[in-house]
């Protein structure tokens, strides 16, 4: 293992964690990410046993998950493998596909509610133009958030992930923190 010490996307040694009312925001540096694109005419593989989801979908299997990012293209998630060369591992699972390392292209903020889905819906309506009512568990989409491009993943009724560009981590955290804080202030 290298002797260089990584920092979090928000620029600290440890990931940031914040609870605001019923919501907890957590920076997740452990999430390994790699993109998988089919070669022309290729068939979808099942890396790590995953069934690659249809447009707008997210599917998980154990520590792995996949979400649709575009026609014939997915992002594969590997929990706890943010420090590794996850793209290389995926390449072995999906021969003949175009794989690109994406882990540090992004920052993942995992948002958990202790009061069910309602607070997440309230948060979403202040952040993104996506209908929370039609965005139940298993949905993933890319959209704009305060002029930033983000992926939203509804991991469970009470869990939402917002994955944004890593270099925008500070601005994205500010946006989410402000919106979540205002839900508490109301």
């Amino acid at each position: 293992m290298s002797d260089l010490k990584p920092i979090s996307a928000l620029g600290a040694a440890a990931p940031r964690l914040l609870t605001l009312g019923t919501l907890t925001l957590r920076e997740n540096p452990g999430l390994g990410l790699a993109s998988l694109a089919l070669r022309r005419g290729g068939t979808a593989p099942s890396p790590f046993g995953l069934t690659l989801p249809d447009p707008g979908g997210w599917a998980a299997s154990g520590a792995y998950a996949a979400f649709w990012t575009g026609p014939d293209q997915w992002m594969i998630e590997a929990e706890g493998r943010g420090e590794e060369d996850f793209a290389a591992a995926l390449k072995a699972e999906a021969p003949g596909c175009s794989i690109t390392e994406q882990t540090d292209g992004w920052v993942a903020f995992e948002i958990t509610s202790v009061a069910g889905g309602a607070p997440l819906s309230r948060l979403m309506e202040k952040l993104v133009n996506v209908d929370a009512a039609g965005f139940g568990p298993g949905h993933a989409t890319r959209t704009g958030l305060e002029h930033m491009s983000v992926f939203l993943i509804r991991r469970a009724e009470d869990r939402l992930a917002i994955i944004g560009m890593r270099t925008l981590a500070g601005s994205l955290w500010h946006a989410i923190e402000t919106a979540a804080g205002r839900l508490v202030a109301v």
Binding site: P71, T141, T143
Partner: protein, 104 residues
Amino acid sequence: MLIPHPLLGPRDAQEFTYLGDAMMIDRPDGLAEGAEAAFCDYVFQRDNPAGLHRELWFHEQGDRSWLVVTRNTVTHEILGAELARDVALARRATDTPADQGDAQ
């Protein structure tokens, strides 16, 4: 405005950037005979119809698909949207200009 994305359903137009006439799919062959005249038309000549218009939109804040959207420029009614890639491939197969495809 809402754009009816063929894969993702209606999405707000704020997620898209606009390019223009779908005829831009029909890029001339740069090595063919008479290519310069064809390129002058391709680069500079655009129709500006009051009514149905097939045009290119890029889902930049989304799945990065280019779409061919059929829109009424007078009413802003959108009659349909297709993946530009499908339009381009079909164009190659049938030689139908991209700005004259079927509106859904």
